[in-house]
Symmetry: C2
Subunit: 431 residues, 2 copies
Amino acid sequence: MTFPEIIGKKRDGESLTREEIARFVRGAGNGGLAGEQLAALLMAICIRGMTAEETAWLTEEMLQSGEMWHLADAVPEAVDKHSTGGIGDTVSLIFAPLMAAVGVPIAMMAGRGLGHSQGTLDKLEAIPGFRVGWDRGGMLDLLERCGAAVVAQTDDIAPADRTLYALRDITATVPSLPLIVGSIMSKKLALGAGTLSLDVKCGSGAFRKTLPEAKELAEALRSVARSAGVACEAVITEMDQPLGPALGTACEVRQAIEIIEGRGSAPLREVTLRLAEEALVLRGRDRTSARADLEKALDDGSAAVAWEAFVRAHCGNPDPDLLARPRRVVDVLAEGPGRLTAVDGEDLGRAAVEVGAGRRRLDEVIDYGGGIEVLVRLGDPIEPGQPLARVLLGERPVDEPAVIDKVREAFTLAHDAPEQPPLVYGTPELT
Amino acid sequence: MTFPEIIGKKRDGESLTREEIARFVRGAGNGGLAGEQLAALLMAICIRGMTAEETAWLTEEMLQSGEMWHLADAVPEAVDKHSTGGIGDTVSLIFAPLMAAVGVPIAMMAGRGLGHSQGTLDKLEAIPGFRVGWDRGGMLDLLERCGAAVVAQTDDIAPADRTLYALRDITATVPSLPLIVGSIMSKKLALGAGTLSLDVKCGSGAFRKTLPEAKELAEALRSVARSAGVACEAVITEMDQPLGPALGTACEVRQAIEIIEGRGSAPLREVTLRLAEEALVLRGRDRTSARADLEKALDDGSAAVAWEAFVRAHCGNPDPDLLARPRRVVDVLAEGPGRLTAVDGEDLGRAAVEVGAGRRRLDEVIDYGGGIEVLVRLGDPIEPGQPLARVLLGERPVDEPAVIDKVREAFTLAHDAPEQPPLVYGTPELT
């Protein structure tokens, strides 16, 4: 069968065989297929979908296109955590020392900022000296020394995903469920932790805008993980507004430290605790005592001790006074009175990228001083002139009036009080 | 709106605006869009379809991507003819001198062989000296001298179509109705004849396998032509088997000459007469007298005189003894008794390409001596050992047993007499 014939099968809504999917993924990984053919099949998959079986094969072939770290072979009790992507989402930075503090090894491979979201690696690199480039041996050494490791995904992990991800971005095939599942799970399985806690974002600022969509994604991700022998739970959480107030790099590190020290944004603390609780339950712990241990670790300073050890082990300096600060801060004020009924997370995220929290071009340098702080939450009554957000300006030259307008327009006020979404929808069964 | 957002609209089944379609076609014509983005949109169009309005815009934008010859401005009475593609389809070679013989100027832009089909240009170039490269002035001069012109489509005609056609071939997006209509009609409108007779093939050897599919294509093509002010009729004809027995280049020229001289394959003669008759009716002639004039021209030698003038005007030598002949001929014999119930036209066409009637690689040279002659038609009773087809072998080295097997397997025998498809289904209204 020729490759155009394989594309034609999916175009007509037929299922592909494992060997056909393998040819697709191999061709993406080694350049053996034209980008145009990959793009056509991606669009056919995006419109026609894939069965659970096809999705599992796609994931496995993408996984096998690169290196596998088999983490569970070396550290069977190690936990991994993943979020499907949102803004103000500083959970990973808190999750790592929190799990270490309660004695569970935590290992993650993280990425850089993409589109309107800020990347965990970019945030960690705002800490002076923090090093994210480690190989498998380096990760095991970090786990040995501080019980927590967050490293950059290497080029050898799921190389087919890198090709396909770049293609999806320019061909409007990002929102396809099987393609999202394949992309996420191939990388998770390449690290190979035995336990995985998944945060599936739901709302206007997420890939999946509605609860049924988020539930579908949560079930698909969990199902592929469990089929691969990973103990996995997925929690659906709200992304109609930033999870924590800070969007940026250094400012998100400060936000993480607040939570780690038992202070700070209640929603960010709550989502982190819930994901950590699920991880402990997956590792066999009783839910109530697990929750109590986690809260205690944040409140009694043991998470803060673990954070210092985590930063030092990664060659960073944990002194918070060394984190970059903005050179100037501009408050964005509300125009009319009303209640806050909607927040455009993509626009806010893009504004944060503009002022330094991300790269507008691949060769641009992050400005660790730049970012946004959101000062209101959905449902809040807003007075005219009340600050909605604070734009943190660093060294990068910025079209300031345009950014301020974009931030202001990201907030929608209305007279009626909106219905408040819950912060945590729960696991697919509970929603 | 970014181009991925335009792709996303079609992915979700929405209609595109004229300006969005224009960006797509311009990007294909000038290389301003990545091939991957064109491929993704082609697949979305292939699955989601296009409205009649979108299809007309697509055609017009493709037309305007290149040069337009405005033939009707110079020769208002000139007729064009097009077939959607089949095998043993030598109609164009007969149609040109036949129309010239009855005093109607006939002008066509033709292409080379593609995939399993043999190209009109390749057939004409089997005539020693025959020249197909002419510009607009050259075409007008040919019409002046012999009343008939068949020229190669130049690179300046609908350049966007060339890019998109090559992409469609490798991305399984060839069978899309709006893409077929845009590709065919942009080239027809670029020549700009005032009258167009369309042969829409229907059957196992055609793009459109069933009568409803063929009817849909016939109506769409005719509708775009008529909207552009062209007098147009479409006739649906059968392509469940080769139209004439010969598949090749020199052997198809010989087959054309037989018909032109009033002999030869009845189905090929009949389809040619019907398409010519429609053209004359479109030019205002009474159907019965038009038909009589056409038959007379084939039978009384006037078409043969016009053929000689046509070939000479194009710098060719009309002596049929100069046409290449095979070096060797192999008869393919039937194995069992039965009736001929199916012919795989694609396999037969590919076998003809193998033995020289086409190019297996872009740099390959046509072998004018090679080809296939089919000796049976659907419904014929077949005896064991009876010749089904004759493989004409020229100079090109060929895997002879493989070709013979492919030809034999292209014929399906069964005990029951199959239902015979009609040769001519008629115009969309009559089917």
